[in-house]
Symmetry: C2
Subunit: 230 residues, 2 copies
Amino acid sequence: MIPSYYPNNTRFLIAVDCIILGFRNKELHLLLTRRPVEPMKHEWSLMGGFMEENESLNMAAEKILYRYTGQKDIYMEQVGAYGAVDRDTGGRVISVAFYALVPMEQFDTSLAREYDARWMNINELPHLVFDHNQMVQDALTLLRYKVSTEPVIFNFFEERFTLPALQDLYEAIFQMPMDKRNFRKKLTTMNLLDRLEDKDKKSSKRGAYFYLFNPDKYSEFIRTGKRFSL
Amino acid sequence: MIPSYYPNNTRFLIAVDCIILGFRNKELHLLLTRRPVEPMKHEWSLMGGFMEENESLNMAAEKILYRYTGQKDIYMEQVGAYGAVDRDTGGRVISVAFYALVPMEQFDTSLAREYDARWMNINELPHLVFDHNQMVQDALTLLRYKVSTEPVIFNFFEERFTLPALQDLYEAIFQMPMDKRNFRKKLTTMNLLDRLEDKDKKSSKRGAYFYLFNPDKYSEFIRTGKRFSL
DNA sequence: GCAAAAGTGTTGTACTTACACCCATGG
DNA sequence: CCATGGGTGTAAGTACAACACTTTTGC
C-alpha cells in the first residue's frame, strides 16, 4: 500500500471496460464476451477487468486489450467514467470505459475462443450487462467525432487499405451512404495518402489500389495550420 | 458496506474535481482555491473532494458545486477520469473531472471567501497542483466543442443576456475575434432567441437589447431535424 | 456635439452536394 | 462477352467571410 495522506476516506473498486471495435464485411463489429463471473454470469458483456494497484487507467485498459486480442499498441481512447450507485448489481464499482480500434484482417481468434468471446455486428447487438449498452453508444458518438476531425479511421486497418473499403468503413461508422466521388475528392485534396503499385483483387475483378496513410505528410499538413476533416 | 461479489480486489480513493467557469468583464474566469490539506497545502487547486459511499459521480460533483457556489442545478459535464499512478503525490487517487458553467452576475462571494477561493482570469492561471492544469485544458477543449454544437453557452447567464455580451463570451471561449454581423446573423437565422423590451444600459449609452433563449423553440428546432451550430 | 457602443445588408469566395459514364478483368 | 465493382469531372447551390456606415444617448 502506498503511504497516503488520505486515510479516512471510502475506497472503491474501479473497473475498466473496453469497447473493442473492428471492421469486417462492410460492417462495424464489437468484441463481446460471456461474462465469466457472478452476478450476470454468462450474459453478454464488454471486455473488462478490475484496476490493480500499480497501474494507471490506460495501463489497465491496455492489459485488457492485450489479453483479448493478443495485440499491443492498439489505438485507444477514454470514453468516460460511469459511477451510478447501482450500476453494477454485484457491488459498488466505478467503471471507466475505453474504446479501441483493432485491425481485423488477420485477427487471432484463438484468444477469443479461449475467453468465450465473439465479434458481433454493431447493428445486431444483444442486451449487455449493467450500463454497457450505454457505454457502447457513448463510444460510437465519440468515435464519430474523432473520425471526422482526426485521422484515426486508419487504425481499423493493419496498414494498407483500398478507397472502397475505407468508404464502406466510413459508411458503417456513420450509418449513412456517402457519394463515392465526393468521398474520394475529400481524401485526395488533403493529400495524406500514398497510392501503392498493387491492387486488392479480392473484392472485384478489376481490383482496387492499395493506399497508405502517410504520417509525415500529416505532420506537415498540421504544421501548416490545416485540419483533418472527413 | 454494500455486499459485494468482488471481495478480493484493490480499492481506490476517488476524487471529483470541478472546473468551475464563469464569465465576467469580457473574460472567462475559473474558480480556484488554496488547497486546504496536505500535501501541497495552500497551493492553487481546483475545487474537489473525495467521493463518498452512497453517491454517484454526478452527485459528488453537484455536492462540490453547491458547497463552493451555493447554487443548485448548475450545468455540468464530465470531462474524464485521470488515473496516472503518481498523479497525486499524497497517495493513489483516481480523479474524475467535471466542468461547470456558473452565472457570475450576482455571485455570492461569501462562500468563496470562506473557502479561500478566488475567480481567476483563464488567461492568467497560476500553476495548479497535480494534473489540474491538464484537466482545465481538456475541459476547455470539450467546452469549445459543446458550445459550437449545443446551446450550452446560455448557461453562463442567469437568464437574460445581450448580444454584445454573448459575443464577448464566445470570443473569450474561443480566444479569437468574431465578426459582429456574422455572429448575429447565425443567431437570428436559427431563431431560438426572444428579444425583450428593455435594454442593458450598463455597458453603453445607447443600451443593448436583452434576449432570452427559448427552450420551446429549440425543441421544435431539433424536432425538425436541425442542429444548433455556433 | 461628440465619444462610445449598438445595430444593420450585400457581395465574392469556398465548400458541399448532386449526378452518369467508361474501365478493367475473371469467369 | 458480360457482369461486377473501380475509377473519374463538372455544375449548381449553399454556407461562410469580408466589409462600412448610421443610430442612440450620456456626458
